[in-house]
């Protein structure tokens, strides 16, 4: 093949520009830390990347939903736990009051304490987190004890509040107030009967059975909440694992292997300077330099 100066120059130019192009691509990779910047750089990876991002984002959202659910359920558990202690104290006091050895004044003190404990239970039924009443069904902005029926009983709101904690899995985060506190706080319920028996000299020890049933209601609820707590923990673990996995996949899909990128860049740099120096050597001499 016949080779001319202009061919050498053209070749040199096109080699240099392709070398610059490679360098700029590598430089972009190093500075952005991403393997590609446009879908056309790697359409499959870009599409997968969008899917992985959605995935990761969803996991993040479920995690924050779970945090909210945990908040509710832990508060519920605390409130019920306190209610159980209060009920146990009432039971203790009732046992004391049934001894028959107490004077009228002492019985009055016991009765007073039980009344206070009942007030406490009402407060527990009004438990709030972040301004929301957690035992009032969907009426989260209404204080349950402020709504009474004709008999003076608290009317708890109804309705489940569900949160999605995993793809397609919803978890009920609230606990029915009337099933939990209704029994204990009902006028004429076990506590009221006990107070009545203590004040009016009724069969105090006969009240224990009713109180036990109320305690059992609370314990039953606590068991339910505990089961939900377990479920949430399981979900939290699973989401954590998934988050790690999804982050890793996303990173593998689009993050640059920095050592490789820098190595490539360095190699390309030396290729480039070699191209430049060889070009400079080839372009210079012509027959002219040797003719007189």
């Amino acid at each position: 093949m016949r080779i001319t100066q202009s061919m050498l120059t053209n070749n040199m130019l096109s080699n240099l520009s392709s070398s610059y192009e490679k360098m700029s691509k590598l430089q972009e990779q190093v500075s952005s830390q991403k393997k590609f910047s446009k879908p056309s750089d790697n359409p499959v990876a870009a599409m997968m990347g969008m899917g992985y991002r959605t995935n990761l984002n969803q996991i993040g959202q479920y995690q924050s939903n779970i945090a909210e659910a945990t908040n509710w359920i832990d508060s519920t558990d605390d409130a019920i736990g306190e209610a159980v202690s209060a009920m146990q104290r009432i039971r203790e006091l009732t046992v004391q009051g049934s001894n028959g050895t107490y004077e009228g004044e002492q019985l009055k003190t016991i009765t007073e304490e039980i009344k206070q404990l009942k007030e406490h239970l009402i407060t527990l039924g009004d438990t709030q987190i972040g301004g929301k009443y957690i035992f009032n069904g969907q009426n989260t902005n209404v204080r349950p004890s402020s709504v009474k029926d004709g008999n003076g009983n608290t009317v708890y709101g109804t309705g489940d509040i569900n949160l999605e904690v995993f793809s397609g899995i919803s978890l009920k985060i609230n606990t029915d107030g009337s099933n939990t506190f209704g029994d204990a706080l009902a006028s004429g319920g076990s506590i009221d009967q006990t107070i009545d028996a203590l004040e009016n000299g009724g069969d105090v020890s006969g009240m224990l059975e009713g109180l036990d049933a109320t305690i059992n209601t609370f314990l039953g609820m606590q068991a339910q909440v505990g089961a939900r707590q377990n479920r949430i923990e399981l979900m939290t673990d699973r989401l954590k694992q998934q988050e790690v996995f999804a982050t890793e996949i996303l990173s593998k899909n689009e993050d640059v292997d920095i050592e490789k990128a820098i190595m490539d860049l360095t190699t390309q740099e030396s290729v480039h300077s070699a191209a430049l120096s060889i070009g400079a050597k080839i372009m210079q001499p012509s027959l002219l330099d040797f003719l007189r």
Binding site: T4, M7, P39, S40, P43, M50, T140, N162
Partner: protein, 519 residues
């Protein structure tokens, strides 16, 4: 007898021919960097020997050479390589236009990035999930309304940016059409000039070179085929005359249109004329609806080159009345997707109850302007932006503060396939998968299209470079070679001059040294 001065004549021919060859060498050196210049060669021939055959021819031994003459000055060029180069540069034009417009589209869509539609949609879905957790919280409602506005803004931005790039492409189409017309008339003019020189037996190498550069440029804009025509009645044209160029518009597959479309027509009798291109646009849609070449109108754009690449990006009306093209396609997809999403979202929204409301909501969350593109006109209902308590998050009458049932349905729309939409009968058939997967599919396809245009472009660039290398190998000037030639012709010139001196001495002998016997 041979003439006394024949040797002088022979030496003189040698001198002037070497001089001519040296001038040509000088011209080659001078034009070493001229675009489109093909090196020239002086074709040397021997002049006819003496004596020629005839009744009165002198009886001498054999024929004696009478020297050299420059027969023609010819450019060294391979028209086969020209054709190859033009095929590739045509592809460069087409894929160059395609890849540029698709890369711009990628730039507008800006995926996968944190500011693209996908990321904005994620924020919107998250805000709806946030609403399910905090229905009574006005902050959570504000977030839903404002991320809804972001979604609408992003779609508006996509629409506006895509259409403004489209307008740019439309301007480019006009510029390119003008360029094509200018090239056609320049080639036509060169043809005319050449037709006035060639019949005299001259070879207008400079005009040939100019014309070939113009044809190279034209080949990038439209696919063409060049036919050399030497008219039958053409004076004393030299054997190496190139003739006139007839330039035909070719289909993508390299075949002729039926009947053929000639951009520059030449027939056996000489120049016929040119067919300029005229781009016409549809009145209502603004899309390209035909290309007029002279008296012919093409409605299928089955040729290649930059013009075709631009038209296929910008959008064109097909014979069946539908609109094709990369930008209209993308806008249509965005539109279909937006319309389906807005209809379903509103339908779900209207099933729900606003905070404290006993009746289902009457408000559309998103609003579209009838008669306008959905992506262009989507916005969040002003009443909802003003008062986010009107977002219908509740699923039961009364709109209890903790009722998040409808909010959940709204958030679930993220995973719902278009085929499961309650409003699906209003959807375009093309919609598949969920909003998210459909959108990432669009981006994936854009990526593949853009990548393949870029790959085709770089392949054509490489091929064109290699063909051009071959072309240069044949036609470009090598300074070393010219220097060698220079020495060669210089020495030949010197030697002819020396011959002349020798002849002089010989004549001196005859004139001054002879006839002096006995003096």
């Amino acid at each position: 007898m041979i003439s006394t001065f024949m040797g002088l004549e022979t030496a003189k021919r040698g001198l002037s021919t070497s001089q001519g060859a040296l001038y040509t060498t000088g011209n080659n050196v001078a034009n070493a960097n001229t675009l489109g210049y093909s090196r020239q060669r002086v074709n040397l021939i021997q002049t006819s020997g003496f004596p020629t055959v005839g009744l009165n021819s002198p009886r001498v031994a054999g024929q004696i050479g009478t020297g050299v003459a420059a027969e023609t000055v010819q450019r060294i060029r391979d028209s086969f390589l020209d054709a190859q180069y033009r095929t590739q540069s045509n592809k460069i034009g087409y894929y160059g236009a395609m890849s540029e417009s698709l890369t711009k589209m990628e730039g507008v869509m800006n995926e996968p990035k944190d500011s693209g539609l996908a990321a904005t949609m994620e924020k919107f879905w998250n805000s709806l999930q946030g609403l399910t957790a905090n229905t009574e919280n006005s902050g959570a409602r504000e977030v839903v309304a404002s991320t809804g506005v972001m979604v609408a803004d992003t779609l508006n931005y996509y629409y506006n940016s895509l259409t403004s790039v489209q307008t740019d492409i439309s301007n480019q189409i006009n510029v390119k059409a003008n360029e094509i017309n200018t090239l056609i008339s320049s080639i036509d003019q060169l043809n005319q000039q050449i037709s006035k020189v060639e019949p005299h037996g001259y070879i207008p190498n400079d005009l040939y070179d100019k014309r070939d550069v113009l044809v190279d440029n034209l080949s990038q804009l439209v696919s063409i085929k060049v036919n050399n025509v030497i008219p039958t009645d053409y004076g004393r044209a030299s054997d190496v005359a190139t003739g006139l160029y007839n330039i035909e518009l070719m289909q993508e597959d390299g075949s002729s249109f039926a009947p053929p479309i000639n951009l520059v027509s030449v027939n056996q009798t000489g120049m016929v004329g040119t067919s300029k291109v005229e781009v016409s646009h549809d009145k209502t849609t603004g899309m390209v609806d035909g290309l007029k070449f002279g008296s012919r109108t093409l409605t299928d754009y089955k040729f290649s080159g930059e013009l075709s690449g631009l038209i296929k990006s910008f959008g064109y009306k097909k014979a069946d009345g539908t609109i094709g093209g990369a930008y209209p396609d993308m806008l249509k997809k965005l539109d279909n997707m937006t319309t389906a999403f807005v209809n379903e979202f509103n339908a779900i929204h209207k099933q729900g109850y606003a905070l404290g409301d006993d009746n289902t909501s009457t408000l559309n969350f998103f609003e579209l302007e009838p008669g306008k593109s959905a992506a262009q006109s989507i916005k969040v209902n002003g009443e909802i932006v003003k008062n986010p308590t009107k977002i219908a998050a509740g699923g039961k009458s009364g709109g209890a503060s903790g009722d998040n049932e409808n909010a959940k349905l709204l958030a679930d729309l993220k995973k719902k396939a278009f085929s499961e939409y309650s409003t699906k009968d209003q959807n375009s058939d093309e919609l598949t998968g969920s909003f998210d997967t459909y959108y990432s599919g669009i981006i994936g396809k854009l990526g593949v299209d853009s990548q393949s245009a870029q790959k085709n472009l770089s392949n054509s660039v490489v091929l064109a470079a290699s063909v051009n290398q071959n072309r240069e190998s044949v036609s470009s000037v090598s300074l070393d070679e010219e220097m060698t030639d220079m020495i060669k012709f210089q020495q030949a010139y010197n030697a002819s001059a020396r011959m002349m001196t020798m002849m002089d001495e010989m004549l001196d002998k005859i004139i001054n040294g002879m006839g002096t016997v006995g003096r």
